[in-house]
């Protein structure tokens, strides 16, 4: 009995040894700064010269005196609300297409996945040229059909749609997940459905979709978290300014400006905690809703 316990303890210990690099990393590089930023969000910390306790002043100013806070929050919500459903639906649609058994499908899969490999500043600069109102390819193409293209990145009403449009171009990343999951769906299910006379749409709707819900769930949770943190796109495509009439001033961009341009670090830290709470609540809601629609194979509902 004693020996067995020791063995168990030994195994537990080994487990901890194996995850030690992660634990050390987490405590030193994540948990430490996390706690520090929470504490410093109640101060007027500016990194170099001051750190005095100011109570809830930062939070109070954010909610009562800072219009740009609300602008940035609105911009971010707008982006998340439109981009997440569109990219999710786009990725599912694309993977359904690429799941067909036709000659040359590997070639097409590669083509559609390519944009997901490219990333970062280069892509944004490319899109700035594509979206150029006068000479860009997008408006030129629209012109062939007699549609006068908008001013994309210069018109405050079109900057966010332009970013969402750009995001749709790189749905290949999500597509890969869905494709893998679709290929895992048992062929026998389709065969049985076919014998029962189900149409292709019915097969897709009642077999494919339910079978890939775990991946949809995963994708929505992670892209929601990522969506709230949009920064690079706006920073690069508006030269760090936030675009015309602050229409690309997203939450994280404004936070960055407060932290590194005005050196108002305590204020920026308070902002980051508000964002954390928003994302936290949304993720909890997601997790609570999941059992209603996510289907795990072999699981009793």
């Amino acid at each position: 009995m004693r020996k067995k316990l020791n063995y168990k303890r030994m195994e537990g210990l080994q487990g901890y040894v194996f995850i030690l690099p992660w634990i050390v990393g987490f405590i030193a590089f994540t948990a430490g700064p996390l706690i520090f930023s929470f504490a410093a969000s109640f101060t007027n910390y500016n990194i170099t010269s001051q750190m005095d306790f100011v109570g809830f002043d930062n939070y109070e100013n954010l909610f009562t005196a800072d219009n740009l806070f609300w602008t940035s929050l609105y911009n971010t919500l707008y982006y998340v609300l439109f981009s997440i459903p569109l990219t999710t639906a786009g990725a599912i649609f694309l993977s359904a297409l690429l799941n067909q058994d036709v000659p040359g499908i590997r070639f097409f899969r590669t083509i559609y996945y390519l944009p997901a490999v490219l990333s970062g500043v280069g892509v944004y600069l490319l899109w700035m040229q594509l979206l150029d109102p006068g000479t860009g390819l997008v408006n030129t193409a629209l012109g062939w059909f007699g549609i006068p293209g908008p001013n994309w990145l210069f018109d405050p009403d079109w900057t966010k749609p332009a970013l969402i449009f750009m995001k749709l171009w790189s749905v290949g990343g999500g597509m890969l997940l869905y494709l893998a999951s679709m290929q895992g769906v048992s062929k026998s299910l389709y065969e049985a459905a076919k014998i029962d006379g189900a149409s292709s749409w019915q097969q897709f709707r009642f077999i494919t979709i339910p079978m890939i819900t775990p991946v949809i769930f995963f994708d929505i949770v992670t892209s929601l978290i990522g969506g709230f943190q949009i920064f690079q796109e706006a920073y690069v495509m508006s030269n760090g300014e936030g675009g015309p009439v602050n229409s690309m001033l997203f939450y994280n961009l404004y936070m960055w400006k407060k932290a590194f341009e005005s050196f108002d670090m305590g204020y920026a830290m308070a902002m980051s905690w508000i964002l954390f709470i928003i994302v936290f609540i949304i993720t909890i809601i997601n997790l609570k809703l999941a059992p209603r629609w996510v289907h795990y194979e072999g699981e009793e509902r």
Binding site: S49, A65, T135, G242, V245, L249, K257, K258, E261, S262
Partner: protein, 435 residues
């Protein structure tokens, strides 16, 4: 090939190695080099043109004495100041950093840059520089950075186009009214489009430059009170909107994208007759349109006597708070901003320098071709009209509030009166809050 057993080992080794690499960078400072003190100098000048010039200046300094060795580190533009801030917070900063002149006072107030008055008391070098530049480095009377280079905005005009339009190529427009008249004559319309555009004020600069030009006043007065909602600013924006109406959004957008593409700038092929930009824009003319016959002039006055005020910026060399060798850093900064280094920089880069004597020498330097000298001399002459707009220490991010109002006015979403009134109010609120 790797067997399955070896693969994890290989990755483990790789991890350890990459870990080591991370620790190496900060350590090289203590590398032994005899009795010399090694100081770390950060700049963002990494381009093919600028890197060799600054490296030569550093090398000259290292050879000129045997006590200090400067190590130049190139840090990309997008990273340099956030990295500097992190290094200051970690109490291990570089010894000299090139930073934005307009926020020097702010960095002084926040204790990021070292107060240089202790060195200036011993050797006062302030009269080396243009006064406007020097004043921008002061916070409560003390300097926190030494001006290195600067810029200004001047008018470039196409002499061939002037002749074609029957204008005197030696007589550039002197007032806003003349600018409009000249542009009317220079315009060549072809149906709905233009073969040549005379002038459009918002290519090359923003509307705030013209508001500065209109009355020589910034958005804040000497006491830091906002004065954006002024008669002159209202008139300026009206004038800008008139230009916008004249050419129309479509023409303006398509020209704008050509200007943004650099080598496609319509000024190079004569499709744009007048254009405002920094004197260094000349290097692009030299590269892309060497045969262009052009002249340079000061910005026109709003009305006779209102002044040819122009706008400038620049960079300073400063010692971050917590530098281990401030004395040696100061010696290097003195070298960096002295006549010899500054003249070398000016001639090799065709860049405006902060040192007055060096700038004047550069304009006469035999290495500079005649055409270059003309533009350079204009840049120097224009320094007298050039104002800087240092960020107010109590409202450093004020442009976040002003820009959307100006955007709304130019997009026709707000009237000029309303936009300026709203801008004025939000600036007043901002300054009040931070007091």
């Amino acid at each position: 090939m790797f067997s399955k057993k070896l693969l994890p080992l290989f990755f483990a080794v790789l991890l350890v190695l990459s870990g080591c690499a991370g620790f190496k960078t900060g350590d090289s400072k203590s590398a032994d080099s005899g009795d010399k003190v090694v100081i770390d100098f950060w700049s963002f000048w990494g381009s093919e043109i600028r890197r060799p010039v600054i490296d030569k200046i550093v090398e000259d300094f290292n050879k000129s004495q045997d006590k200090i060795e400067v190590k130049h580190t190139f840090v990309p533009w997008g990273d340099i100041w956030t990295k500097e801030l992190a290094a200051i917070a970690a109490k291990n900063p570089p010894d000299v950093v090139i930073n934005d002149i307009n926020a020097t006072a702010l960095r002084g107030q926040k204790n990021q840059a070292m107060n240089l008055s202790q060195f200036l008391e011993k050797d006062d070098i302030s009269d080396r520089f243009y006064e406007e530049l020097w004043n921008a480095t002061l916070y409560e009377g003390d300097s926190y950075g030494i001006p290195f280079n600067t810029d200004t905005r001047i008018l470039f005009y196409n002499k061939t186009a002037f002749k074609e339009a029957g204008l005197d190529p030696e007589k550039p427009p002197a007032t806003w009214e003349e600018l409009w008249e000249y542009a009317e004559k220079l315009d060549v319309k072809n149906g709905d489009t233009y073969d040549r555009i005379g002038f459009y004020p918002l290519w090359g600069v923003n509307s705030d430059v013209w508001m500065l030009n209109s009355d020589g006043k910034n958005f804040f007065d000497e006491d830091g009170a906002p004065i954006i909602d002024s008669e002159a600013n209202r008139e300026t924006l009206e004038w800008v909107l008139d230009w916008h109406k004249k050419y129309g959004a479509n023409t303006i957008n398509s020209y704008k994208s050509q200007i943004d593409s650099q080598q496609g700038n319509p000024f190079f092929n004569g499709k744009l007759a007048m254009y405002v930009n920094t004197p260094t824009f000349y290097t692009q003319i030299r590269d892309y349109a060497p045969d262009l016959d052009f002249g340079v002039a000061m910005l026109p006055e709003r009305e006779p006597g209102s002044g040819n005020t122009s706008w400038g910026g620049g960079f300073v060399a400063e010692i971050p708070q917590g530098s281990k060798h401030p004395e040696e850093a100061w010696e290097f900064i003195k070298h960096l901003t002295d006549v010899e280094a500054q003249e070398y920089w000016a001639v090799k880069n065709f860049d405006n320098v902060a040192n007055i004597k060096a700038a004047e020498n550069a304009a006469k330097n035999s290495e500079m071709p005649d055409k270059d000298k003309v533009v350079y001399q204009m840049a120097i002459d224009n320094m007298e009209n050039t104002l800087l707009t240092p960020v107010p220490v109590h409202a450093p991010d004020f442009m976040n509030l002003v820009n959307p109002e100006l955007d709304s006015i130019l997009l026709g979403k707000k009237s000029i009166e309303q936009g300026l009134k709203d801008a004025q109010q939000s600036l007043e609120k901002l300054t009040e809050k931070s007091k």
